[in-house]
Each structure stands twice: as C-alpha cells, then as structure tokens.
C-alpha cells in the first residue's frame, strides 16, 4: 500500500498487514507517522514524546 508522509510529502510504502495505531518512520524525513485507519489508509504525525517530572 502507498501513502504520503504528512510532514514532507515523500511517498511511503506501507506493509499489507499494517495495523491501526502502528508507528512508521518516514524514510525521507524520519518523522514518526501513526496509522489512524487502515481502510482507508490514513496516517498522521505520531504523538511526540513530552517530558515531565515526577512519577
């Protein structure tokens, strides 16, 4: 399956058995992309890692 990186527009080849919630790195810009839905295939930028003090 094919889609585009939402960050840089590069073409992205996605495995046929891709799953909802899977995180795929863009081979061009390195952005982490989250698979929001599989059919239709929709990707968004994955959540970024924030930092917090405490537990």
């Amino acid at each position: 399956m094919q889609t585009e990186c939402v960050e840089c527009g590069a073409e992205l080849t996605v495995p046929e058995d891709v799953m909802q919630g899977e995180i795929l790195p863009c081979p061009e810009c390195g952005a982490d992309l989250e698979v929001i839905t599989v059919a239709p295939l929709v990707v968004e930028l994955a959540p970024t890692e924030m930092e917090d003090w405490g537990e």
Partner: protein, 351 residues
C-alpha cells in the same frame, strides 16, 4: 456510579506500611464486581478476571500506598481532594472499574494488583509481584493524564559521602572537611555537565542534586556527612555513576551508594501502545507520549518481564506529594472508558 470506588479508597488513608484497610476495601469491592480477589502474602490487593488458562495475561499494576500527609477528603467543583487521589489511587481504581465493566476477550486474563510500599525504598509489593507473574502486557498505574501514555522513567542513585579528620587550627592551610565536600560536589557537577554534552532532552541527561551537607566537630575531630542524589538516563547505570564519582572523593572518604534503580524506556510499536492510542482517540482526545523524570514500578518490573509495558492513569503528576493533591472526576471517568476500550478491543494476534 463511576468514582464512588475512588472516593471510598481515598478515604482509607494508607501511607506506606499502613495499607491494610485500603487493601481490604479494594479486595472486597473486586469480589463484589466479578473478580476473584485476595490479599497476597506481601499484603497486596490482587483481583483477576478471565480464564486461568487464557493464552494472554494483561497485568494492571498500581499501588495502594501513598506518601504521608493526610488531606481532608472532599469533592469540590468536580475535583476529588485527598492524599493519593492522583498518586496513584486514581490509576488503581480506574484499573479496577474498567476491568469490572469490560467484556473481556475470551483469550485474555486480566489481573489488577494494588501493590504496597511503592512510595518507600523497599517496593515490597512490586518485588513480590515481579517474582510471581510473567504477563504478556503490563500497565503501571501512575498519573500520565487520561490522554497520554508514559513510556519511560529515569533511574536513580543516592550516595552518602562521609569524611572524618583530626581537628587542626583554622589558621593552617589544610582544607576543612566542609571544603573537601564542596570540592567533591563541584567535581560531580563538572562531570555531569561533561556527560550531558549533546544530550538534548532531560530524559537523556544525568541530573545531580545535593540533598544534604552537614559538618560537625567534637573538638578533636571534624566530620562531614553529605548526600547526593542522581536521576539517571538509560545509558548510565548506578554502578557506572558510583564508579566515576569515586574518582573525585578524598582518599580517606567513605562513599555508600543505595536506592539504586536503572532507567527504563519502553517500546512504542506493540499491541499495547497501538491499543492505547486507539482507545484514547475513541474518547475524542489527542494522544501523547511522555517520559518521566521520576521512578515507578516500571523500573522494578520492566527489565524482568521484557513485555510491552506502559504507565497510564488520570491526573497531573505535578500534584504528586503536594498538599494540593486532587483529581478531576471527569478525567477519572475518561480514563476508565479508555482502559475499558483498550481491554475490549485489544488485538493480541498481530505483531
């Protein structure tokens, strides 16, 4: 009513080593809500649902003890005030309520554990559980916020530095034990700065803290007692740090390292994280990941179990251990719904 369990458990004030009444209450509640439940040999509250021979086990590991300091329990403007409301009875009770409400997949067994003594160095409850279970998936109960998933905790090391020397006249050039202690601390800071060169985010940095320094004299000898704490990134073990800083100590000083915990950072491409992202979105929220500067039971069990693991729970961890500790009950309900969705739609057959 979602929230009654939490209010009742927060009312059972339970600082570490005084968890008995809260544990008994939670076990009885679980027994009345479709769980099998018991108090284990460590004093933990443990309840489980699903077949004993299920091929998959999800362990929801919260803690039922709190730091000391009783806060009058009250609900004001939709907020529950009380010690432990955020850290971390909110998470633990959300686990219990979600599992009680969920229609479990037939191939899944879910265990809810309320561990004792998480807030003190023994971590007795989590150590007992770590040695007796081997789950396929684990969620640690700590406040991440209902829309966020915690992926890692830093490590920790405490070091006592002790030095004792004969008294000399203060006009002599030899440094005092206090000056030697200060020099040790400055060397530690310089070494930490060197280690942190190029480490962008706080999670990747070693953060030293001078917890205490005291000098005494009986007229014949002078003594220094100093305690230094470290928060550690994944790349540095407590032994690494202890070995490095021992180079800066005076030759006749005594260094004692304790409370040693390695950092733990979980993977985010697995069934558990995928399920959580979908479950958070299903409640209309935008998911986020977070890395924490403190420690939790993830540090205790993560390496041993080597399974998909996260920490999750409602609340703002900035309120941990504060006199203002409170939890929004609407956020608590959101976290219960999120966890229920996770359990009901968990896809264990993929990667």
């Amino acid at each position: 009513m979602t929230g009654k369990l939490l209010i009742d458990v927060v009312r059972c004030y339970s600082p570490s080593e005084q968890e008995g009444p809260a544990v008994a209450y939670l076990v009885e509640w679980m027994q009345g809500h479709g769980f099998q439940a018991a108090i284990d040999a460590a004093g933990n509250a443990v309840g489980w649902r699903g077949p004993d021979d299920a091929p998959h086990t999800l362990l929801l590991l919260g803690h039922i003890d709190t730091v000391p300091g009783e806060i009058p329990v009250r609900v004001e403007d939709g907020r529950l005030y009380g010690r432990g409301s955020v850290d971390a009875k909110g998470s633990l009770c959300a686990f219990a309520e979600a599992v009680a409400q969920a229609v479990l997949p037939p191939d899944l067994r879910v265990i809810v554990a309320g561990a004792v003594e998480e807030e003190i160095a023994t971590s007795r409850g989590a150590h007992y559980i770590r040695d007796r279970y081997a789950p396929d998936l684990c969620i640690i109960g700590e406040p991440s916020g209902a829309g966020r998933v915690t992926l890692g905790y830093k490590g920790r090391l405490l070091v006592d530095y002790a030095l004792e020397r004969p008294m000399v006249h203060s006009s002599r050039p030899e440094p005092s034990v206090g000056a030697l202690g200060a020099a040790f601390w400055q060397a530690v800071l310089a070494w930490a700065d060197q280690q942190n060169a190029g480490a962008g985010r706080a999670f990747e940095q070693i953060i030293p803290r001078l917890n205490g320094i005291n000098t005494t004299s009986d007229g014949f000898r002078e003594a220094l007692a100093m305690t230094v704490g470290f928060r550690l990134p994944p790349r540095l073990t407590p032994d690494d740090v202890l070995g490095a800083i021992s180079e800066f100590a005076a030759p006749d000083a005594a260094l004692h390292g304790y409370s040693q915990v390695r950092a733990y950072q979980a993977e985010k491409n697995n069934a558990l994280v995928r399920g959580m992202l979908a479950a958070i979105r299903a409640q209309g929220a935008q998911p986020g990941f977070v890395l924490k500067g403190g420690t939790s039971d993830m540090n205790t069990v993560g390496e041993r179990w080597s399974c998909p693991i996260i920490a999750y729970g409602p609340g703002d961890s900035d309120l941990d251990h504060t006199p203002h500790e409170h939890l929004e009950l609407a956020e608590y309900a959101q976290s219960v719904a999120t966890l229920r969705h996770l359990i009901e739609y968990l896809n264990l057959n993929g990667r």
